[in-house]
Structures are given as C-alpha cells and as structure tokens.
C-alpha cells in the first residue's frame, strides 16, 4: 500500500480512538467511532482479493448499523433527559439500545457473526488491530456507562459469548478464525464483570491485548494461517514455537502464566457478588477454549507433521524478529506475580 495512504489511515485510527475515549458528549464519541470505521476499511481491503473486499463490506455494514444504533440510543436519552453526557445515560431503552450497539461493535453473541469472517479476510497485522485496538473505544463506552446497564442482558450475552466462542472454535482449522473465537470468548469474560467491577473489565482487556498481540505477531512471523502450516512452523524459528505454546496457554488462563490473573479476579468478584453458579458456568465454558489452544500448541510444538521434512531448519529467514514480540511474550508469560490484590 502507498506509504502515505497508510500513514494517513493509521493516524486517523489513532485520532478516532483518542476522540472516543476522551469524549464527554455522545456526538464526539460517535464521531470517533465513525472515523475508526472509515479508516480501517482500506486497511482491511488493502490486498484486493475478493475475500478481503467482502470482509471490508461486511465490516462496514455491521459497524455502520452499530453506530446508527448508538446515535439513536443517545438521541432518545437526550430526548428524555435533556442532556448528552455519556456517563448520565439513564433511560432504560437507551441503555438497552446502547448495549446492543456496543455488542455489535465488539462482537458479543448474538451479534458476533461478522467477526470471524472479517478477521479471516484480512492480513494478520490488520487482524491484530481489529482484535485489540478497535475494541478499545467501545469497551471504554461500556465502562463509562456501566452503572446504568441491564445486568441480566449483559450476563446472558457474556455466558453465550464464552460458550459460543468455545464451541465454534473447536471446529476451526484456520488460525485467524480460531483467534476470532478466542476474542469473542474473552469478551464474554470482560462483559460478565462489567456491572460489578469495571476496573476488572479494564484489566481483562489490557491483559487480553497483551497476550493476543504476541500471538498475532508470532503467527505473522512464521506465516501460519492454518493448522497444517503450523506443524512445520518449528523449522522456521524453533524458539518461537516454544514461546507460542506458552503464550497460547497463557491466553487459555493456566495458572502460573499471566492469563490466569483476569479469570481469577473475575471469579473472585463474582463469588463476592453471590453469583457462584455464574462463575462456575463461565469457568467451565472457558475449558472449551483450552481445548483448541492446546490443539494449536500441540500442532506447533508437540507433534511432527505427517509430511517428511528434508532439513532440520530452513536456511533462509525472511524476517528478523523484532524486540516487540519478545517484550510482549515475556509480559504475557511472567506477569502473574504482579497481580493487584
């Protein structure tokens, strides 16, 4: 892509995100979101094959609908209460509409259908942006309006997201779709605790981003888009497959690794709020995710592929690994001792 165009789009993304997270007025929030939507579209469709174009189209339709709903909810609230303050969203219907709008933007069940296909249509770096950076503004809006949202609806959507993220992810062989469903699953965890402790939502989101970034970057480095390619990935950069395994298990939430922290804190908070059955259900459903993470780790590290490999390691290495991946990997494995209690 043209470097100037790329520069323009990237800065527009930054601008849009910043506008939304620092806004007090609904119109400003809406503006930021729209800028984000428009800026990411060319990035999604930068390789011009039909799948990317279709992904871009789906993304636009869905996000435009979501933004319209958001505007509509803020307008009805302004009509009823006479003010456009984000934190003062009090009318119930507005809250519901806002919840649905943001769920569509994030990709919570039952509004998640666009997410796997869009992620599959783009390259891994754009996918990274979609999965982490573009989720930030809607999450912020959720956190800002969290006191007035409907708990039942949020809990239902959260549990359904975790469940569907697990079940649908079981039957995938494309790594990008697997990561999409893992994202949906983690969104479920974020949403379940939103009402009770928004700070935990935030920490879950941060840690989720922290763990997903190295995975996307690793997959980009060793260029694996399918499970079959995954099994020969060890020939490219052997240490990377080992760390990939650890990062995947961290994403699954295994105890000595960082990913355990959000789950732990959320379950603790839920039990404090007398929602033990919810905590049990959501914990059990995230086991399904563990299975496909394990499958990815298994294909990457533990097994050898059925095809014969003539050489131990490929002599050409097309990219040097950046420091960025190393930093993120280290953080996503070792951060548990720093847990805030």
């Amino acid at each position: 892509m043209n470097p100037q165009a790329k520069f323009l789009f990237t800065t527009s993304l930054l601008l849009g995100t910043t506008i939304t997270i620092s806004s007090n007025h609904w119109i400003m929030a809406w503006t930021g979101l729209e800028i984000n939507t428009l800026a990411i579209l060319p990035l999604i469709s930068k390789s011009h094959h039909p799948r990317a174009i279709e992904a871009a189209t789906k993304y636009f339709l869905v996000q435009a609908a979501a933004s319209a709903l958001l505007l509509f909810s803020s307008m009805t609230n302004a009509w009823y209460t006479g003010q456009w303050d984000i934190t003062q969203l009090t009318h119930p219907t507005s809250c519901l509409l806002l919840t649905t709008a943001i769920s569509i933007k994030l990709g919570l069940v039952p509004f998640h259908f666009w997410f796997p296909e869009v992620l599959q249509g783009t390259s891994l770096t754009t996918g990274l942006l979609l999965a982490t950076a573009l989720k930030f503004p809607p999450t912020t809006l959720f956190i800002l309006t969290s006191p007035s949202l409907n708990p039942t609806l949020l809990s239902l959507m959260a549990i359904a997201s975790t469940a569907l993220g697990g079940w649908a992810g079981l039957n995938q062989t494309q790594t990008r779709k697997i990561l999409a469903f893992s994202s949906i699953s983690h969104l479920g965890w974020m949403t379940i605790i939103l009402i009770y402790n928004p700070k935990l939502t935030l920490i879950t989101f941060y840690l989720y981003c922290l763990m997903t970034i190295p995975i996307f970057l690793t997959l980009n480095t060793i260029k694996t888009l399918k499970l079959t390619t995954m099994s020969t990935a060890w020939t490219k950069i052997p240490p990377m497959t080992a760390t990939l395994m650890l990062t995947l298990l961290s994403l699954a939430g295994l105890p000595p690794l960082t990913g355990f922290l959000p789950k732990w804190l959320i379950i603790q908070e839920l039990t404090k709020q007398e929602m033990t059955s919810t905590a049990t259900i959501i914990a059990l459903l995230s086991l399904l995710g563990l299975f496909f993470y394990l499958r990815l780790a298994y294909c990457a590290t533990i097994t050898l592929p059925p095809n014969s490999i003539n050489f131990m390691k490929q002599w050409q290495t097309n990219k040097s690994t950046s420091m960025l991946i190393t930093i993120f990997i280290t953080l996503s494995i070792m951060l548990l001792p720093l847990s805030p209690m």
């Binding site: 869905v62 039952p110 649908a168 079981l170």
Partner: protein
Amino acid sequence: MDLPMILNISMLLTLATLLTPLLSPLLVKNYKNSPSTIMQTVKTSFLISLIPMTLFIYLGMENITYFWEWKLATNFKIPLNFKMDQYSLMFFPIALFVTWSILQFTTWYMASEPQITKFFLFLLTFLIAMLTLTIANNMFLLFIGWEGVGIMSFLLIGWWHGRAEANTAALQAVLYNRIGDIGFILCMAWSATTINSWDIQQLSPLNQTPLLPLIGLILAATGKSAQFGLHPWLPAAMEGPTPVSALLHSSTMVVAGIFLLIRTHPMLHSNPTALTLCLCLGALSTLFAATCALTQNDIKKIIAFSTSSQLGLMMVTIGLDLPQLAFLHISTHAFFKAMLFLCSGSIIHNLNGEQDIRKMGGLQKTLPTTTSCLTIGNLALMGTPFLAGFYSKDLIIESMNTSYLNTWALSLTLLATSFTATYSIRMSLLVQTGFTRTTPTILINENNPAITNPITRLALGSITAGLLITTYILPTKTPPMTMPTTTKTTAIIITLLGILLALELSKMTHTLIKPKQNPLLNFSSTLGYFNPLTHRLSSTQLLTTGQKIASHLIDLSWYKKMGPEGLATLQLKAAKISTTLHTGLIKTYLMSFALSILIILISSTQ
C-alpha cells in the same frame, strides 16, 4: 485293668496304625509302600478296632478325650476333642472292615494301574479323614474331616484325569459339596457367636434352637449326602474307578452328611420345623433317585441312584427323630452297598469294560460267586426279612407308619421302597439271567481270591450285620411294638408288589418291540431334567447379570458414556451446530441482529 484307658489307647492305636503308611516314608530311609502293605495295615487296624467295640458292647463304656488346645482367641479355645461313643465306636470297625475288603479287591481291580500305590495312599488318606470326621467332638475337627473327604473325593473321582468327563464329574462333586459347606460354616459361625464354643455337647441344652444353624446343617447334609437339590454329583461321581465308588460313594463319604445330623441331633430334636424339613427333603430325594434308577442302563449308575435313594431314607429317619435308627441303616447299608459295587466291578472288568446292562446277560453260570453275592446284596437292599437291610429298613418304615407325620412324605417313601425292589430286580434279571448279550471274545473267570474273598466277606456281613448290631446295641428310644398287621407288613407287601411288577415288565421286554417314548420315560431317563436346567440356567443367569451390571451398566454406561465419552460427544454435537450457524451471508446476520434487538427490547419492557 484300667478299662477306660484300654478303650482310649486302642482307639488311638487304630488311628495311629492307619497313619503309619503315610508317615513311614518320612521317618524311615528308603521306605516304599506297596498295595499289600497298605491293605494289611487296614486289616490290622480293623482287628484293633474290634477291642473298643467289644468294650462298648459289653460295658456300655463311652469316652471323650480332650487334649492340646489351639488358642485362637483368649476366650475361644479349640481343643483336639475325640468322642468315642456309640456311633464312632460302631462305625470304626464297620468302616475298616469294608475298606479292608475294598482294598483287597482293588489289588486285583487296579492291578494294571502304574500308580497303584498312590491310589492306595489316596484311599487311605480318605479313610483317615472319614474316621476323623466320625470321632470328632467339636465342629472344627469335624470340618477338617469333612473337607478332607471332599478333597479326596475330588482327587479320586478324577483319578483318570485324562478323561474329560471324569474331570467334569470331579469338579461337580467339589462344587456341590462346597455349596453344602456354606451351610456348615453358617452353623459354625452361629455357634461361635452364640455359645462361644464349637463343642457339639454344648449345643444341646438349648430349649428351642433357632432355625438358622439348623438350616445350615441341613444344607451341609444336602450337599454331602446328595439330597434333592444338590444331588447331581453322585451319579456323575461314577466316573471314578469302582473301588472309589464302593468306598466313598456308597458306604462312607456320602453318609457323612447324615452322620453330622446324627451328631447334632439334640439341636434338631427341639425344632419341629427342621425335622419336618428333613422329612420332606428325604422323602423327595428317595423317590426322585428311585425314579431315576428305573430307566438307567449303566450298572454303576443304578447302584449310585440306589445309594442316593437310601440316603434319602436315612434323611427321612432323621426327620422322624430317630438318629440311632439312621445310624443302624448307615451301618447295614455300608455292607451291602459296598458289596454291590464290588460285584459290579468284578462284572465290568470281566466283561472287558462293559458297563451297560443291556449288553450283559447269563452271567450266573460264568460268575457264580459274584452273581450270588449280587443277588444277596439286592435282596438285602430290598429289605428281605432277616437279611441286614431288613433290620434297619423295616424298622424305619414301621416307625414311619406309626408316627404322626406328613402323609405326603409317607406315601413318597413307600413308593420309593417299591421302586427299589423294581430296579434291583430289573438289574439282577438283565445281568444274570437270560441269554448272553455280551461279545463272545472275552475271558470270564473269578479264579482270583482277591475277587471272591472280599465279596464273600461282605456278603457274610450283609447277612449277619443287621442281626448282630441290633442284638448287641440297645435302642435308646422304644421302637413301636404294636400295630395292625397290614401296617407291620407294609414294607414287605410293597416290596413284593415291586418285584412282581419288575418280573411282569421284564416278560414284556422279551417281545423285541422298540420302547416308545412317553413323558414318564423321558423324565426318568433324563434324571428329572434337573442337570440341564440347573447347570445351564444358573450359570447363564449369573454371567448375563454380571455382564449387564458390571460391564454394561457400570463400566460402559457410567464410566464411559456418562463420563468422558458422553461429554465429548455432546461437545462435538454443539461444535457442529455452532459451525453450521455461521453461514457467511450478511443478510442473515443483519436479520439476526435486528431480531435479537427486537427481542431484547420487547422482553425488557414487559
């Protein structure tokens, strides 16, 4: 003359003499047993055992010795307790006499057996176990003898272990005996917990013994003495050599069950239910065995069923509360039954292994001694007046007719008595009379004194034993003296009826018409359909229940399907449904979004 000491010493000497062939190879260097030495040992033992018997007859002296306790727990002692009373003092000489004759016969019968010494040693071990059983005063020692005779029976029935039927028969014997042992152990457990002792003397003072230990004892007797229900092993035990059948399955081992009931009679005496149970069980056994014997063609099987029938009769006597009479029948029965088996052994060997009576005939001229003794034995079995069997059998039937009891049991026993006559006469007729139906190429002779001497000795016993025993041993209960003439002569009349029937029927068989099958014939020849029903049915039931419950229900259903595999299948289903939902059509997606929003709005404004 310290007579009690002589009694004690002579009994112990009897037992010690029997132990010498077993212990001498351990103590003497290069000692080799031989069949004749073992036979001489038993003969010596018999002669020694006559001393205590004489002492008992003339002085009525009984003795209990008690030495060397096994201190199992602080308050539970198991001593080595010998009771030399009427039963054991009379049984010893009789058993030893019969065994001596059988061993002498075996020196001829098993002459071609390469391991004949081992066979003799087995028989000797069996005898020792049986005598231990007889002389035991506590149930522990009795159980040692009980199990000993069971094991030896297994080893001896399966003597020709290359033969599959012999192995099956031996297993059958052990299994059925084991079922009886459960009852024995039940009684032992009950007495250990209630009376804190296994002494048989201490069992009697109870006013009303509870039914549980008695059921155990009756079960033990059913197993060991082949009463109906646990009877199939006795006909199958005929797979063993004839001396084994003669010793174990006619005179000694099978009477062990009855002997147990005789010993524990004071317990049974106070419980009318148990007595009725014995009565009915015995009556059923005796009739069933007699019915089965009517259509048997194997000479040994006929004698086996007649043993079974007489055991039923002994059980009936126990049920009539007459233990002494049962013991009398045991004693007299030993003589003529052992003799019948030895005669059949002689016939079988002489006819070169032929056991089917349809292929024998006219043997009276070729084997005069054997067949005469066969006739004597059959007459004694039928209860011919003043032979041995008469004294016990007639008394039993008289007592039965004059006592207040179950009519059904009475009629069954009388019917069985007539059947006894029928099948005995049938056997004699087919074996001894008529034209020869054997193959012409066999050498028949009984020139060997090893054949004739034992048989004639036992014949002498069959004739005189009844008279001698009843003369010298006084009954403890007064026998019924007065009764109507018909009642007195019931046994003889019924026996005569049976004989006449047999003679008439045998005349019919001279007209060479193939016997038609009818249900009664089928019932009798298949031994009452008992064997296929119980052997197949119970094992199939057990195995299918085991498969259903253990394998299918627990292993398969609970551990697999309800557990891991079921869970995995469910998840698989859910995963498949979820992936089909993601169709990729944006219109469907947007439609679902709209629908979801509508539902959310509608349901939350309610």
